[in-house]
């Protein structure tokens, strides 16, 4: 780096370099505070008693852990039911969407068909359709089917998959051709090839796509908001809206506790599958 010591500007490098290093660490700490501050505030407030919440200056460490905030939240809104709904919608929806995506990806990766690329283009084109354009027509479709306030109404419109199909197909195309050929020579049919060879080799990408799909469904807000109107069919994110209108700003402890319940499952998944999630969500950009 410092090969050309003859240059006068470079001689000042060392002290400036140290100052730059300090500055960079200061910035890193500021960034960490900005990112973690709100999350810490959430976690600590969920355990604060009112005396620690309604006070100024703010208390950073709860003087007394008040776990009953969670009980309050649980009673203020039927969170048990919200949780059950979210679990059902997320799990069935994810399995269904992944099934659609996997079959479709396999077909586009390994099976011959006229105008295959055009068809794939049609599929990808759906990504250009903003959700807001589909909102009202889908609501009318679901309503015509009599599916307002039902699990099918919550789940079915989300079963079509573009992003997961794309991720899986791209991955399947990278599988070594020899393995496929070997399977063919074996006389294995496509169904067997898929289950015995392709899917096991696609495990990492299946996990990536599955986890991203799951998180999206758990967090989904606008569709559950419009397709349900009875409290018993609401999902957890809508529960937060419900709680806010119920409790206003008078019980921040309970509201924060409920928020923790919404966030923790996703954070847990993120903790375990962090690398896959990041890779999957950033892949489109780097592979161009």
């Amino acid at each position: 780096m410092t090969t050309s010591t003859v240059d006068s500007p470079l001689r000042t490098r060392s002290p400036r370099g140290r100052a730059g290093r300090v500055l960079r660490y200061v910035l890193l700490v500021v960034l960490a505070c900005v990112v973690l501050g709100p999350l810490y505030w959430l976690a600590s407030s969920a355990l604060k008693q009112n005396a620690d919440i309604y006070t100024y200056p703010p208390t950073w460490i709860p003087t007394h852990l008040r776990w009953s905030n969670f009980v309050d939240a649980w009673h203020a809104a039927p969170f048990g039911r919200f949780f059950l709904n979210s679990l059902i919608v997320t799990s069935i929806g994810t399995v269904g969407e992944m099934l659609c995506a996997t079959l479709c990806a396999y077909a586009f990766a390994f099976l011959r068909f006229p105008f295959k690329k055009v068809l794939f283009g049609v599929l990808l084109g759906a990504m250009m359709v903003p959700g807001h354009v589909t909102l009202l027509p889908n609501y009318l479709t679901i309503s015509d089917l009599g599916w307002i306030n039902t699990y099918p109404g919550l789940i079915v419109p989300g079963l079509g998959s573009v992003f997961a199909t794309f991720l899986l197909r791209q991955h399947m195309l990278t599988l070594p051709g020899e393995i496929m050929d070997a399977a063919k020579v074996d006389g294995a049919g496509h169904l067997r090839t898929m289950f015995r060879v392709v899917l096991p080799l696609s495990r990492p990408m299946l996990v990536t796509a599955g986890v991203i799909t799951m998180v999206g469904k758990w967090n989904d807000f606008i569709w559950p908001l419009i397709v349900t109107n009875s409290t018993t069919m609401r999902t957890v994110p809508i529960g937060l809206l419900f709680l806010k209108t119920q409790e206003g700003y008078n019980n921040w402890g309970a509201i924060m506790a409920a928020t923790v319940l919404v966030v923790v499952p996703v954070l847990v998944v993120f903790f375990f599958a962090q690398r896959q999630i990041v890779a999957g969500l950033t892949q489109g950009a780097t592979k161009g």
Partner: protein, 318 residues
Amino acid sequence: MAAVDARVDTGPRADGTRATPARRGRHRRHLREYLLFLAFIVPNFFFVLTFAYWPVVYNAYLSLTSWNMLAPVKDFVGLDNYVDLFTDPDFLGTLRVTVVFVVGIVVGSMVLGLAIAVLLNQKLVGRGFVRTMSFAPHILSGAAIGTIWLFIFDPNYGLVRPLFAAVGADSPNWMTSTTWALPGLIIVYLWKNMGFIATVYLAGLSNVPRELYEAAALDGSGAWTTFRKITFPMLSPVTFFLVITTTIGTFQAFDVLALMTAGGPGSSTTTLSWFIYQQAFKAFDAGHAAAGAMIMFVVLIIITALQARFLERKVHYR
């Protein structure tokens, strides 16, 4: 292309043979493969066509009608809904809010994201942890993030009060003030977006060839010049991808907004996204809601097309 490929694969006259039993067998095999292909894609295509493509057609039709979502008949009104919207000062206000909202969030999170990426690209102790944590808000529920920030923005008991007190000011009443609600929302979305953008940029940074930096160092160019002449141009495809996806996402941003301001106070945070929801599901005015959605659709297509052309020009210089 695909059609040609398929025909070559079938090789009807390639070997110049007549229809031998072997060839008929191959045909049957191809037919079976075609049927299998169809069977595999039908479920996915059914849902995508029903819940993504058909709605575009239906929505376009609805935008030409006047309908309260109850009456048995939809009145065809031609382009009236569009004329109504573009002559309605409230809707023009909505568009103004949308522009501020989208530009603020896209530009802000791109700048912050790039700055964070450059910082985290240095060899610093603890950068991996910070990088991971800064990504987390991207996958957290918008409703939850909105709730957290409502409390942070609380003028009496929120975290922002001591920040304002530090410079000797009172915290504004963010969410009930027509001046502060929109900036407040933008801040929250910046917090949600910047880590994701930084992560994508970091992947891009690792793809910039080292030799370019070495050459720049030999030329004695400073850090800023190197960034401007090498780093930023090399990142242009990533920038393009991020600007498009962030723009599309921000136009539709709903959950944080619904929780924090619900379009208010007044109409100070009524973006196009909130407007469409409100027209359809609060005012039951299908025609104007559908027209608003069509406007959003067209705007997004134009933005994407413009950026695609811009990128084409950029990439040639690479």
